[in-house]
Symmetry: C2
Subunit: 332 residues, 2 copies
């Protein structure tokens, strides 16, 4: 068995930008996001095109915030939840940057950052972007049904975040990606597409347990262990399963899907999900903490449920993956 | 502008395996493929699951041919054409190998090999797999209509190959990936989803012209320039567009979609396409030529049309991408 942790040097998240929709703007992190469109439309005629416009906005905001130009990026890694990942291919088509399309479901932010960091650490590029998005209204009509149908949501269902984030990965910066550990695909028999948290938790257990064993680290050696996005249902399953494996992560565990909405004021059931959820929470909340030195280190674990509506219709269980990054603060 | 060509060292395609269906087995390359199932079912109950079973078979055959075990692979890069890339996530779920999901449409074989080569060249892993597939019957009902409906095919339409290939990328081997150049997303106003060749040709022009300019190479310096898959329609457009740019590639140009079926005997219109097409032709035909030293070098250009049925329904033009690898023979 080859080692699963890839140690990296000189790969930092130098800057990041986020764009979100109405429900995210109204949530507890609303003030932190760079761009908000409370119509959820981003000037486009369809929800699918709105997602592309939002992703474009996130990348433009990244360039503006960091004083960079399209030509400064050697490549971009991008993906989203739409069929054939068209949120990204249309969203980024105007930018003449070499394009790697990814599909990692809600783990796409972590997957893109991981590959970006591997490329920059290797010296293949001086600067690479990772971009991802999800849009509640595009996702609902593709995965479930258009919201106009008024289908009732299950209590374990998560709410797809309308949000996009773009990251610039470079050799220097205040948040360094020091380790990367891509996940294996894990399937434990969950067939309920309204309970993604339960389907994804075992993938996180596999990744975290193997990470702690291989690195020799304990949960308390890490500032924060953050998944994106198990939500309240999956998060509590994870903590119990980890305890059964001998690791108590409850003290420093959190989940982007639990943070983005107000559980009392906003009726979001099991919390947020979607490629955009962990992306905008990392970009706007955790990276700030790392940059300010308030947080010294974190494990950022992107989680993805790798099924499709047709695989669910055919009765197949839901496979999931969890990609882990260790990100450390590099104070100025 | 950063350089677009990434030079690589110590990243070789050490072994490869292919699995195909009925029409491919009956084509001119039929004898070269490692595994053939003339029922197209691969023992599964649905076409979607047949694709997963075929991809699993390709990876198992790779391990068998090269005497390797699951634990010998540090990671795998995989993708396909099914919504949410479930051909790959279900096909490879049994193998406990860290999994990077890709979406590059028909360019996925090139994209996966490129990322695998970048990781191995960097020393992140000693051995990485790239796996991809497409299945005619799964693709037809997802992108167009179930074949039982008997819809008429346009003369410019390509036929999605039922095929899967798996590659092992390692520091040593007889076919070395010496350069990688990921493509930018190019959209030139083509809206006809039955003419992917025309939509993708401009992306190849962008990649090839920039490759020749940046490398200083001429088309005649390369043994073969091979796209996958423009088919007959896109291939002829490419040659004309390249001529207009001052590069005559007609002498050593070929396309995997033009090679896989017999144009006279098999009624395949503009030729083959799909993630599996370039993958199985590279695995079973070109790699053999490189290994035997019959071919000294090739440019392998994976081409993908990055639209979805819903983007076409919404009237959007088709964006495309073309990823280039230079592969050179390393005689034993």
């Amino acid at each position: 068995m080859q080692k699963r942790i890839v140690k990296l040097k000189n790969a930092c998240i130098a800057s990041a930008a986020s764009a979100v929709g109405r429900h995210e703007a109204l949530g507890p992190m609303g003030d932190r996001f760079d761009y908000k469109d409370t119509t959820d439309r981003f000037g486009a005629d369809t929800w699918e095109q709105a997602e592309s416009a939002m992703q474009k906005r996130a990348f433009e905001t990244l360039m503006k915030k960091s004083g960079l130009d399209v030509g400064d990026f050697g490549a971009m890694f991008a993906g989203d939840l739409q069929n054939q990942c068209v949120g990204s291919s249309y969203g980024l088509v105007e930018f003449d940057v070499p394009y790697f399309g990814l599909y990692g479901a809600c783990s796409t932010a972590a997957e893109g950052l991981m590959l970006a960091a591997m490329c920059v650490a290797a010296g293949h590029y001086d600067r690479v972007a990772a971009v991802t998005s999800s849009h509640y209204l595009a996702a609902e009509r593709q995965y479930r049904s258009p919201i106009e149908y008024g289908a009732q949501r299950s209590p374990t269902a998560q709410w797809t975040v309308t949000g996009a984030a773009a990251f610039s990965v470079e050799p220097r910066g205040l948040a360094e990606i020091t380790e990367a550990m891509p996940g294996i695909v894990v399937e434990k028999g969950i067939t309920d597409a309204s309970n993604m948290g339960a389907a994804m938790a075992p993938a996180v257990v596999d990744t975290l347990v193997n990470y702690f064993r291989e690195s020799g680290c304990s949960p308390e050696d890490i500032g924060q262990i953050v998944t994106g996005d198990l939500g309240f249902e999956g998060g509590s399953i994870l903590c119990e399963m980890m305890l059964a494996e001998g690791f108590d992560i409850r003290k420093n565990y959190n989940d982007c899907g639990m943070l983005i909405y107000d559980r009392e004021r906003q009726d979001k059931h099991a919390g947020g999900s979607g490629c955009g959820c962990s992306a905008v929470v990392l970009a706007s909340y955790y990276l700030e903490k790392l940059r300010m030195g308030e947080l010294k280190s974190m494990l950022f674990v992107g989680t993805g449920a790798m099924m499709s509506p047709s695989s669910i219709q055919q009765g197949l269980a839901i496979p999931a993956v969890a990609h882990l990054l260790k990100i450390e603060s590099r104070e100025a």
